[in-house]
Symmetry: C2
Subunit: 195 residues, 2 copies
DNA sequence: AGATAAATTGTCAATGATGACAGTAATTAA
DNA sequence: TTAATTACTGTCATCATTGACAATTTATCT
């Protein structure tokens, strides 16, 4: 009887536009006007589908976490075939792929903006924890002789370099910096073999 | 004849309050009201000393770069006495000291917000480059046998971990994460000895 | 065709942020 | 004491952002 609901589809579309704006302008800079323009809809629609500002932020947070988790799962799939530290680096730092930095930029913007709200704070931390878990697990599989603490430390370091790479992308750093960061990650991974 | 100028002193005071607000709320969230409240002055004074919004942002950018450069110089002084990778980590990751994460948070917030303005972009990149230079130089002194490319890659990695540590500070991560990040940096530095 | 429920748009009031400037207070030199 | 210059405050106009809701359109089922 009723017109078919577009709630899921439109919500996704708007949240992705929201994510883009937050990555570019920060949370406070991502006004409803900008989000609406980015999504190609009129502003009142944002409210219709996502509610008021606070609810929009909550929804964005959940969306970022969901996308991040999806990325972690995807990485886990790829890393299952990794046979060396070099394989890991090539998978995580591939440039030919369409890895856009929006996600981690939005993740960071949210982390500084909602870090005082325990529920969102934990959700963001958990999403990062999942990625760290994937990476740590892969390292333990590849280097079973190393301590799990070492695997964990290396995973934290590699993740830091990945995050930093996306952060820097807004400054359009020279290609050499990207190479150096990738090499840094490779060195860190290589240190898993030592001793 | 004239009343003595407080321009330098007040400007510094206001810029530091501005830096604090940008670290906490992002560039767009650091409204003049908030900055004025943080600095303990009335809003019209901001305009009196720093000009309009764009000029305030430019001034903040210069201020952040200046403080960052000062930190790099200070680090250079301390690193001059470092005799091992462990010394470097202890100096850069010391917790007893009053290293507050505001600076790097504001640096990041600015980098995503003004990354499209070549002058500010270059200023921010140069400030990071100075820090990288200090760290790379120290590594070359400590490990003269390693290639300079390797020193550079390790410097990039350690810097990434430092930046990430300050980013995460807003999420109040468990102490174990901090330890793991520090250990990751130490592993990276230790890899300078290999081969 | 008509009923129903959702999608979409138009519009206005309220609040928030910035720009601008007049006006007052304070400090120093002559 | 007075002139000169700066520090500081009060206040208003303007624009941007958000919240809210009425009104319209569209798609589906009976």
């Amino acid at each position: 009887m009723p017109r078919p609901s577009l709630k899921d589809q439109r919500s996704e579309q708007i949240l992705d536009a929201y994510l883009t704006c937050v990555a570019q302008f920060g949370l406070e800079g991502a006004t409803q006007e900008r989000v609406a323009a980015q999504a190609g809809v009129k502003r009142p629609l944002l409210r219709h589908y996502l509610g008021n500002r606070d609810q929009m932020i909550s929804a964005l947070c959940a969306h970022v976490v969901q996308v991040f988790d999806g990325m972690s799962d995807e990485a886990a799939l790829g890393l299952a075939y990794a046979g060396s530290g070099k394989d890991i680096v090539e998978l995580l730092f591939q440039e030919e792929a369409d890895h856009d930095p929006r996600l981690l930029l939005a993740w960071q913007a949210l982390s500084v903006a909602v870090g005082d709200q325990p529920d969102k704070r934990d959700a963001l931390l958990n999403s990062l924890e999942r990625f760290l878990g994937v990476l740590t697990g892969t390292l333990q599989r590849l280097f079973p002789k190393a301590s799990s603490a070492k695997a964990r430390a290396v995973a934290q370091g590699v993740t830091s370099i990945l995050v930093n790479l996306d952060s820097l992308s807004m400054l359009a750093p020279p290609q050499s910096w990207r190479d150096e960061l990738r090499d840094g990650a490779l060195l860190l991974l290589t240190s898993m073999e030592a001793q």
